[in-house]
Amino acid sequence: MAIKPEDILKAIAGARGNAICVPTMTTSPAWRTLAPDDLSVGCSGFMGGASSLGLGLALAMPERRVVVFDGDGSLLMQLGSLATIAGAAPRNLTHLLFKNGVYHTSGSQDIPGGLTVDFVQMAKGAGYRKAYAVTDFDDFKRRLPSLFTDEGPLLVELHTGLADKTPMTDRGGQPFNQQVEGLRQKLHKG
């Protein structure tokens, strides 16, 4: 049975410590309810950019863990970012890929290749230090602490069902520029 994305996000919210999180698309509505703080910046308005935004944060703040909540359709839009991330090799970047095989936000059209696309192999081929798939929630819970300690770049392909909400069914949240400003102020306070 596919993992509920909300269960994953809830577990991360409880374990993240001071990690910066970068949600995108269908992870955004649940995340802003689970973690209504200013240590996150959602990738909205430039689909596919979450992994790159996370890379920039990870390079700027090597002492902090950065966790990207990517989607399979989103990553396909900037697939080259796998190689760019591997080339830059940030040890503090965890790239979580919520794989459901569809563009859920725009009406659940199949992504190219559907569920057969193997992002673990792609990440390994690009040069990530580690990449693996997780297909059940118990396994995810076992691995959860290592998501914040394993040397990155690390990609975890999470086999999930559809989220309860999408950015289209649950609009709201701060505009991107306010999230940017909020995170910047939080990081540079004091």
């Binding site: 990738c43 430039f46 979450a50 760019t84 940017v180």
Partner: protein, 178 residues
Amino acid sequence: MPESIPAPLIIDTLKDTFREARGASAREPLGWILSVPDTHQKTVLAALDKERALRVVTCATEDEATAIGAGLWIGGEPVVLMIQHAGLYASVNTLRGVAMDGKVPMFYMIGLLQRERDRDPKESRHSMVRFAEPLLDTFGVPHARLEGPNDVHLIPEYYRLSRERRGPAAVLVGLETS
């Protein structure tokens, strides 16, 4: 007539720009160059490979470069993007979504590959040269031409402008760097 700008002059200017951006906290690496390889600025990119004071990240696309630049800026790091006009066209949505709507300072050095020495870019035979400035104008992105060594002062000026405006600004590298 435009003149080629030597790579060392551009690199020294970038270092000074980053030192000014960091102010009293200046340290190495002074700043970040996010590049998508550009024939026009290849001598600069080659020289950057040997630079220890600047960190270079080679990106697969200009979309990536812009989003990475946003992350670095949020984290407090000074950044310059070096791309080609074709990459500007390819990454317009990210320019809009990140730099404009996100109010993220983003300074671009854009190579005008195939720009003719004896012709104004707006009258170029090549559409990728001809449309660069009108595209930037359409999006309200302030820009200036680097037409020779005497224009390198525009690099820190437009870098500062991107910070002051909280958005994109660009300089267009007229001839291939030397």
